[in-house]
Symmetry: C2
Subunit: 462 residues, 2 copies
């Protein structure tokens, strides 16, 4: 009898990367005798790769199930009680319980917890404008969204697509639709695509996208979406004109999904995400953890909280949470803001601060931009690459790197990501012992060329 009392219950809200990684790791550390795990997921799937949706839509991934890392059945086989189509509608922190509603039957019931993981993810920003809900207008946040978009692509005989937003989801969806044979127009509010880069680097993306046959419309605010026969989308309207569209994809970003947490009085940050400590415990709450797209993370370069919805962070959060819930000890120290994406053969990467980020936190900096190649210049298929580097004025501390190039460009950002984490200066980077052979790099890796130029500029400023 007393045995059952010693068994704790972990409740997980949200069945994707952060939540299910946490559940799996906790299970690895504590068996079902010690820990009961209940996971609520309002959708049909668990542990899927939302980042893979553009490649599924584009046809590179042929089967939706390939995007599912672990099915509900697989989780259940490991004694994780996954409850699909079950939405948590209320969190009672004092009573240590959640109220969940069966989406299909509408029935509600309370489940108590000893430990709670909030992994509610993010919700896409839907523009509040006429026509935003028209048939043929799609987000690409969930597998259901992806399926709905694919159904539209099947159904319509149209060939014109408009992508709203030119962040990484926007450019990846532009590629997907090009691969599907669409004429693609990307409508973007900013001065250049990829606002996670400085505009001078975004401009390179702009040029390359146009070279790929994508029409790029910058500084354009969508004011409405026009519909035609049977309420289907017909065109996207901006202040400057109208863009005919048989299908519209919205890629204008996401916000942390913290409705539940906010109602329960949990602490939220400036970007609307939950605030946690380094062990991913919600600040001030001993028995509640949170991770993934619903939390804010510490930016190790700027010292500020940020919201960076990315699967790789969500998985790390889940791993850390699961370890802590399972009685171990792990921390997630923060991020440096690394991201990499591609549009057709163009690779785009960034880490650390942009110029405007550095200014915002009052850092003075030197900025350099260099051109180099992915391999030794004489080696076949060597491709050009532009690297921009920011280093702090006087100290020379690395602040950020942005890379635009072709094959071999994107993952080079990892060099800078590790150097940023370690707090290296540009000068220290100039002698980094990076892998060199003609098929892999020029004798000076492009990142080192940038570091040399940045270090010289820093020295010159002393």
């Amino acid at each position: 009898m007393n045995m059952s009392r010693t068994r704790e219950r972990l409740v997980v809200i949200g069945g994707d990367a952060a939540g299910m990684s946490a559940a799996s790791q906790a299970r690895r550390l504590k068996g079902p005798d010690e820990l009961e795990i209940v996971a609520f997921e309002r959708g049909h799937f668990t542990s899927y790769s939302a980042c893979g949706i553009p490649y599924w839509v584009g046809g590179d991934v042929t089967d939706r199930d390939q995007l599912i890392a672990r099915t509900p059945e697989e989780h259940r086989a490991r004694d994780i009680d996954v409850r699909l189509r079950t939405e948590v509608t209320e969190l009672d922190v004092d009573g240590r319980r959640v109220r969940a509603r069966d989406v299909d039957s509408g029935e509600e019931s309370w489940t108590s917890y000893d430990k709670l993981v909030i992994a509610t993810g993010a919700r896409p920003i839907r523009p509040d404008m006429p026509g935003a809900d028209a048939a043929g207008v799609h987000g690409v946040q969930t597998l259901d969204d992806g399926q709905a978009l694919l159904d539209t692509l099947e159904r319509t005989r149209g060939r014109r697509a408009v992508v709203v937003g030119a962040g990484y989801i926007g450019v990846e969806m532009a590629e997907a639709l090009i691969n599907r044979g669409y004429e693609v127009t990307v409508v973007n509010r900013g001065s250049e695509p990829m606002s996670t880069l400085d505009p001078d680097m975004g401009c390179l993306v702009h040029e390359a996208m146009e070279g790929l046959g994508i029409t790029m419309v910058n500084e354009a605010e969508v004011t409405k979406i026009l519909t035609g026969d049977k309420g289907a989308v017909r065109a996207v309207v901006t202040q400057d004109g109208e863009f005919p569209a048989d299908v519209v994809v919205l890629g204008i970003g996401v916000r942390p999904e913290t409705t539940l947490a906010e109602a329960a009085g949990l602490p939220l940050g400036p970007h609307g995400g939950l605030l946690t400590d380094r062990s991913m415990r919600v600040r001030g709450h001993e028995n509640i953890w949170s991770g993934g797209d619903c939390v804010e993370v510490l930016d190790l370069v700027s010292g500020q909280d940020r919201h960076i919805p990315l699967g790789t962070h969500a998985n790390k959060h889940g791993q850390v949470i699961g370890t802590n819930v399972g009685g171990g000890y792990a921390t997630f120290p923060g991020v440096v803001g690394t991201a990499v994406s591609k549009v057709c053969d163009l690779e785009i990467a960034r880490t650390g601060l942009r110029e405007k980020d550095a200014r915002r936190v009052g850092l003075r900096f030197e900025s350099v931009t260099i051109e180099s190649t992915s391999r030794a210049g004489y080696y076949p298929n060597s491709s050009p690459m532009t690297v921009k580097m920011l280093a702090e004025h006087r100290t020379g501390r690395l602040l950020g790197v942005q890379i635009v190039g072709r094959e071999g460009a994107g993952k080079r950002v990892d060099i800078a990501a590790v150097a940023l984490t370690a707090g290296m200066t540009a000068e220290q980077m100039t002698t980094l012992d990076l892998g060199y052979a003609p098929p892999f790099s020029p004798v000076w890796d492009p990142v080192l060329v940038a570091a040399r130029k940045a270090a010289a500029k820093v020295r010159g400023s002393l």
Copy 2:
């Protein structure tokens, strides 16, 4: 009159990467009014990429001149007095002068210097055995070597090649000869190819090479080379048998070329290379610098001196030397032992210590090996990759990483190279913010998967 007295003379011995980088950088900082620069080179070329020779022989690089980064004429146009086919035969340290011999005329003369750069490179190890000088037996150290090998490949109608040595030059030459349509046998003294890796990782290279149709013969000592008609090579003989060969390539390594320096009493290290301080100044000699393949470098992981002949180090040394000679200040702190190479589509990379290196310096370690993929598993052309990681017992400090895989594997070693330089632990590496998107990486980069496993093993050992 006094003006000419204030002009110093820099003499550079050796016209390849280290020497000419030093000369060029010194020239950038000091004009011809302040600094005269004389460079002696015994061959026909300056500033060429010896690392590119395998790709020229293999046909990936079609023109020898593509391997020349800067010609003698280009150096001369920048007021560097390059004297080709001129060998320095004596160094008089006390008298601050060198004796140089015109290789063609045999004439000798002394040239005085105020500052000296020794960049005499390395010489290939030639086995002392019958037949080692037969026609059709080639080294691949210089452009002249490469041309001679190409001439043999043109001339002989043979189709059988034996490569002696299975280090990076050996495997690259195996690829080159495969690309030329040869049946290739690699004869190797060690238990597995790529002795810069641990044998368990070398074994993966072995299997992959055999998969490419290369015959790999390990633990084989070449005892003689047989010649046939007109003295041309006919076969390579080992203790275990005879391997027919129309052409033989020697890739059994190099030694620092320090004959001059040794005769002049300059300090040499345990591997026969010159010893310098961090500014690349020869120890105990205010006005003599040395860099490139003729020096030993500090291994930042083991704290020991090593000899690592690699173009990327030579260029960095030259840059540091030129800055110091030119009145600036720069240092080369050392290396972590990063190397990357490929044989056909197999990529091989390593950094830091192997198991035996760690044992030699008395470090206890945990070793883990993981399998992962270059991209998200569901993304097209995702290829398998094996990552081995060594971390120090108890402290968890990263000691080394080895990677064997296909496209996208090799340059991932840079992540570990930077982490080693920064002295990170495996635990710290688990939360590195590396670039993630499905076309670039699984959600956990393979290096992070290895770090997680290593960190867990370290924690388990406490």
